[in-house]
Symmetry: C2
Subunit: 234 residues, 2 copies
C-alpha cells in the first residue's frame, strides 16, 4: 500500500494524564489530526491532547450532523473518510483521535471500516471509560471466572433484563435518558444495592452518586452504571 | 486516614509505550514499587516500567506460590497485603503494578479488597489487553447497541456456549489449555470464521493466527479469541 498511515488513537476517558506515551508521540508527529466534535461545542478528544498539538499541523474536526434526518450517519462517515483519504493519498499520516478506546463503541471504527483496506492502518488502544469508571468507583469489575457484559442502555428493557441475568458483572453504558428504565430493572433484579453510578469518569466534571439519589433528568449520555461481581474471596 | 497512599497502577498489555503519563509519574515518584512475578521468571509488569524505575526505590516482587496446595491464593494475598501495609503504615506511598487494567481480572483487586478500607487508595486505569487485542487484530469490537461479553475460557463448555449465544460480540480470555474446547464450540455455533486469535498482544512475542492453524499445545495463558460484531453498517 502507498500513501500515508491512518492512526486510530485512543485518547482515554478524559483525564489528560491517562494518555499513553504512544498517543502523545503520534499526536505530536502526525501532520494531520482529525477528531469528532459536536456542533457548536469544543471537541472533547481535542481538549485531551491539546497540550501536545502544535502550529503547522492540519486540524480536521468532523462535526456530527445534528439530526440523522439532516444527514444519515453512514453518509456522514463516507464524507469524513473521503476527506481523510485525500491527505492519506497525498502521503500524509493522519491521526484520528477517539475518546476512550477506538475499537470499543468508538467513532473511529466507522472510518476503519472504510479506509483500512486502502491505507496502512494502525490502531493505538487507549484507556476505556469502562475500566476508568470501575477505577473511579473503586469497584473490582470481574474476578477469575466471572463473565462480564457491557450492555448499552438503549436496548429494550426485556433485553437488558435478560443480559443482566446472563452474567456475573455488568456495565450499563450510555445511560442518559434511559436512566429511569435501567434503575427500575436493577431494583426488580435486586441489583440496585450493588450497582453504582458515575458520569464523565476522570473528567474534571466527574460525578458519582448513589443510584437512589439521582435525578433522571440530570443524567448525561456519558454515564455508566457498574454492577460489580458478587463474588468475594472467602 | 493516615499513612501512605496505595496506588493500583495499570501498566497496559505489554508495549511499554502503552503506559499512561500518570502511570509513569507515579512509578517514578513512589518510594515503594510492588509487582507480581511468577516463580523463577522476571516480572512482566516490572519489565514494562523498568526504564522509569530508579535506584533508591524499594522493590517488592510478590511471587505466586507454584501450587495452591503449597499455599492457598487467599492466604498468599493476605501475606502480601500485610507486607504492603507495613510500608503504608510508615507513611510510604506504594505503587502496585498490574498488567493491563487493575480492575479487570487483575491481581490488584485482591489487595484492594484487603487494604482500601484502611489506607487512602487510588486506582489508575490502564490499557486493557482486551481492547489491545482488538486493536492488534484490526477488529472493531462493538457497535452502537451491541452487547459485548468477556468470557473466561475455563468455564464449563455449556456455560461458554450459552454466554456466546447471549451476546453480539465476545472476547474469550485466558484461553491456554482450553483452546480445543473453545474452538469446537465456535465451530458448532458457526462463529469460527468470524473469530480471530491473538496471544501476548502488543508484546514483542505477539502472535496472531487463523483459528484453524493453531496447535492447541502451543497456546499460552495470555491469549484471547475475539468474536467481533456481525453488525456492519449498510
Amino acid at each position: 500500500m502507498t500513501g500515508g498511515t491512518l492512526y486510530g488513537i485512543g485518547v482515554g476517558p478524559g483525564d489528560p494524564e491517562l494518555l499513553t506515551l504512544k498517543a502523545v508521540r503520534l499526536v505530536q508527529s502526525c501532520p494531520v489530526v482529525a477528531y469528532p466534535a459536536a456542533e457548536q461545542r469544543p471537541s472533547i478528544a481535542r481538549g485531551i491532547v491539546s497540550p501536545h498539538l502544535h502550529e503547522g499541523q492540519i486540524e480536521l474536526p468532523f462535526r456530527f450532523p445534528i439530526s440523522e434526518s439532516a444527514m444519515p450517519l453512514q453518509k456522514f462517515y463516507d464524507e469524513v473518510a473521503e476527506q481523510l483519504s485525500e491527505h492519506l493519498a497525498a502521503g500524509r499520516d493522519v491521526a484520528v483521535l477517539c475518546e476512550g478506546d477506538p475499537m470499543l463503541y468508538g467513532t473511529f471504527m466507522y472510518l476503519h471500516d472504510r479506509l483500512a483496506d486502502r491505507y496502512r492502518t494502525e490502531v493505538v488502544p487507549g484507556v476505556s471509560s469502562i475500566t476508568a469508571s470501575a477505577s473511579v468507583l473503586g469497584l473490582p469489575l470481574a474476578y477469575r471466572n466471572d463473565v462480564l457484559s457491557i450492555i448499552p442502555a438503549g436496548l429494550p428493557a426485556e433485553t437488558i433484563r435478560e443480559r443482566l441475568r446472563d452474567c456475573d458483572s455488568a456495565l450499563i453504558i450510555k445511560v442518559g435518558r434511559y436512566f429511569e428504565k435501567v434503575r427500575e430493572i436493577l431494583r426488580e433484579l435486586d441489583l440496585a444495592r450493588r450497582a453504582q453510578y458515575v458520569e464523565r469518569a476522570t473528567m474534571t466534571s466527574q460525578r458519582t452518586m448513589p443510584l437512589d439519589e439521582i435525578d433522571p433528568k440530570s443524567v448525561p449520555y456519558v454515564s455508566m452504571i457498574v454492577v460489580p461481581s458478587a463474588w468475594r474471596p472467602s
